[in-house]
């Protein structure tokens, strides 16, 4: 597979994910068949050995998460892909990866739940599972693409963050993004940049080697298994030597450090895109928006739903209502600052309308971030159907908040 493309190619979301993984340097995949993510496994079963990588279809979802962590401990970039039911099963070992600080990428292609639900229909019901699915306090990074091209770039970036911060990263796709085909020009990885995990600066056998001693960045260097460092890894609370410890200050500090190492990069991680119906898009809202409009709405959305929301904002504008899309690229850590900005923009003249294919998962976070400065309303459904631009436009028009 070529690095980057010069001419547009027709690509499916799941294909873009597999390509991105190879480009990011992923050389190990373990998974279990599940709709609508199976194409990622199928493509990597073919592509990985061709680049000297390894693919294995494990006996279950739990085992595939475990194998990914095992592979990563040997110094190999590793990933898995699944959907809701499988994502639930992987949660214990995702927590293990967070606690033992083992880099790995988990792709969850969301389908309608709960339970087996609607296996071939889209949903965005795993936002909170991605955040809190494993037990105990822990940090997490979750990114969510809206287009096939972005599936590619976020796959590379997710692997990068995972390696850089020694943490599991979740790429939260939805069935539509995973299965839609778009004409895309893929960037090269030289454009995107690649990160490798930090390795120990001391040689194997150095008595000063402490596998879980972090520097000022709160990320301990990671030695490859088989490299001669002979160190212990556990999911129990542990000291800087990696040995189990009991309750107390040291135990608390470990979890605080895990959280801190992500929070240090919150500003860089909390990515959003502001999209005006005219096609203007950027990391900041367009200057001057919403001008002297008496009523204005910030529509907050993500994933495939954001595509409908973008069209809806244009429909609303044509009907005389000022609306702009705030598309979330990162879900966790939650982009509070962008939501606060949204609240400021529509203060005393409008509302924040959160559109998502669930019964209100991001909307509650949005309300928390907006902290009562403006009304935050949720719109969405859980019937396995996409939210259409017309539905969203009608919701925008329903909003009150006239100045």
């Amino acid at each position: 597979m070529p690095a980057g493309t010069e001419r547009p190619i027709l690509l499916q979301g799941n294909e873009a994910c597999a390509r991105g993984a190879i480009e990011a340097g992923v050389r190990f995949f373990a998974g279990y068949p599940i709709t609508p993510s199976s194409e990622i496994a199928e493509i990597l079963a073919e592509a990985l050995p061709a680049v000297g990588g390894k693919f294995i279809q494990m006996e279950d979802e739990i085992a595939s998460m475990a194998a990914v962590i095992g592979a990563s401990l040997t110094g190999v970039k590793a990933m898995t892909a699944t959907s809701g039911p499988g994502f639930s099963l992987k949660q214990e070992n995702i927590g293990y990866a967070a606690m033992a600080e083992v880099p790995c990428l988990i792709v969850d292609v969301q389908r309608t739940g709960p339970s087996t639900g609607l296996p071939t229909s889209p949903a965005q019901g795993d936002v909170m599972q991605a955040r809190w699915g494993t037990h105990g306090d822990h940090p997490v990074i979750v990114m969510t693409p809206s287009s096939v091209r972005e599936v590619f770039t976020l796959t590379v970036e997710s692997v990068n963050w995972s390696e850089r911060l020694r943490t599991p990263v979740i790429l939260l796709m939805d069935e539509v993004v995973a299965h839609m085909r778009e004409n895309v020009v893929l960037p090269s990885v030289t454009e995107l940049g690649l990160w490798e995990r930090k390795r120990p600066s001391v040689p194997p056998g150095d008595p000063g080697f402490l596998p879980y001693a972090a520097g000022p960045d709160d990320v301990p260097p990671m030695a490859d298994f088989g490299g001669g460092y002979r160190y212990h890894v556990t999911g129990l609370h542990h000291d800087v030597r990696g040995y189990p410890i009991h309750e107390g200050a040291e135990a608390g500090e470990l979890v605080l450090r895990l959280v801190r190492k992500i929070e240090r990069h919150a500003a860089e991680l909390q990515r959003v895109e502001w999209v005006r119906g005219t096609g203007e898009r950027g990391p900041r809202p367009p200057a001057g928006w919403p001008g002297n409009a008496s009523r204005a709405t910030v529509v907050v959305s993500y994933g495939s739903t954001a595509r409908s929301a973008e069209a809806a904002c244009e429909l609303a504008r044509r009907s005389g209502r000022e609306a702009i899309l705030l598309r979330l690229v990162t879900l966790w850590p939650f982009p509070d600052a962008a939501l606060q900005e949204a609240a400021r923009l529509v203060a005393d003249r409008g509302e924040i309308l959160v559109v998502e294919m669930n019964l209100g998962q991001v909307s509650r976070e949005a309300a928390r971030a907006a902290a009562g400065r403006v009304p935050v309303r949720h719109f969405g459904h859980v019937n396995g159907e996409l939210v259409t631009p017309a539905e969203i436009a009608a919701e925008i028009m329903r909003a009150g908040g006239e100045r």
Binding site: P49, A66, G70, F225
Partner: protein, 290 residues
């Protein structure tokens, strides 16, 4: 006379394999786990002394339970994983880096109950892991609940009226799943156990060694064997050598367990097979490039 498994191994080497700063260990007085760990250390030490195994390339993988704590006492790269999942983690390690010597330590609850699925599939794949099951027929760490290896009629905290389930024969299970090296020993026969583990370490494919051992605290006390020595005596009196099984009458074998090497055959090992896949995929990719 030193047991066979100890012959020729320098004591300094044996100690270098243990994290003595982690002692005292968590195991109760009379627990059989120390004997099984010792057999593993001697078997592995023998391979290291002979230059057959590079200690830098050894990875110890364990799950959750009393036995699983052994990973923390062994001075190698080690990963103390989630309950039941040791073999699944080990599969990832071995496939990612086939040059590593990957040893799995698992209790009977960890391996045969919550981890049963991984056990049967790793055996089926014939992936090159050496799996040692510390079988004490009970969940010790959680204080004595019945495991898939608890004998029928035995008492456990969750079988206060006597156990009604039949236990697995783990070696028969491994054999049925295609394991290419299968052996059973017991803590009482420590030297033999060492030899069985050594055989598993030499083996290229999936090697399974069941080590029968005692938990006086949570199994023995409820079942008339409150001291470690009672449990060792039980092993001595109930073990039947594989070489004697054919000649033994069925009633002689009732309630007994068979020790010995049940299978030691060479069949294609999984990661070797995968190397063939890599060659094929590369050839095809090169062909397409032309």
């Amino acid at each position: 006379m030193a047991p066979a498994g100890m012959a020729g191994i320098d004591e300094g080497l044996l100690y270098s394999m243990l994290r003595v700063d982690r002692f005292p260990h968590i195991w109760c007085p009379g627990c059989g786990h120390g004997i099984v760990l010792s057999a593993l250390v001697r078997a592995l030490g023998g391979k290291i002394a002979a230059g057959a195994v590079d200690p830098a390339k050894v990875v110890i993988v364990s799950g959750i339970g009393c036995a699983a704590r052994a990973a923390g006492y062994l001075n190698f790269d080690g990963v103390h994983t989630t309950h039941g999942r040791a073999i699944a983690f080990a599969t990832g390690i071995k496939l990612a880096r086939p040059e590593l010597k990957v040893i799995v330590i698992s209790g009977d609850g960890d391996l045969a109950a919550i981890g049963g699925n991984h056990f049967i599939h790793a055996a089926r794949r014939n992936i090159g892991l050496t799996v040692v099951c510390f079988n004490n027929s009970i969940y010790g760490m959680t204080s004595g609940q019945y495991s898939p290896m608890t004998p029928k009629e035995a008492k456990a905290t969750t079988a206060p009226y006597g156990h009604i389930e039949r236990p697995f024969d783990l070696c028969e299970l491994a054999l049925a799943c295609g394991a290419t090296y299968v052996a059973r020993g017991a803590a009482y026969f420590a030297a033999k156990l060492t030899d069985y583990i050594a055989g598993g370490l030499d083996h290229e494919g999936f090697a399974f060694i069941e080590a029968v051992c005692g938990c006086p605290t949570y199994y023995g006390r409820r079942n008339g064997m409150s001291r470690g020595v009672d449990m060792l005596r039980w092993q001595k009196e109930h073990a039947v050598s594989l070489s004697r099984v054919d000649r033994a009458a069925p009633e002689e074998l009732a309630g007994k367990f068979v020790v010995g090497v049940f299978r030691d055959v060479n069949e294609p090992e999984y990661t070797r097979e995968y190397e063939r896949i890599i060659r094929l995929a590369r050839q095809q990719a090169a062909g397409e490039g032309k």
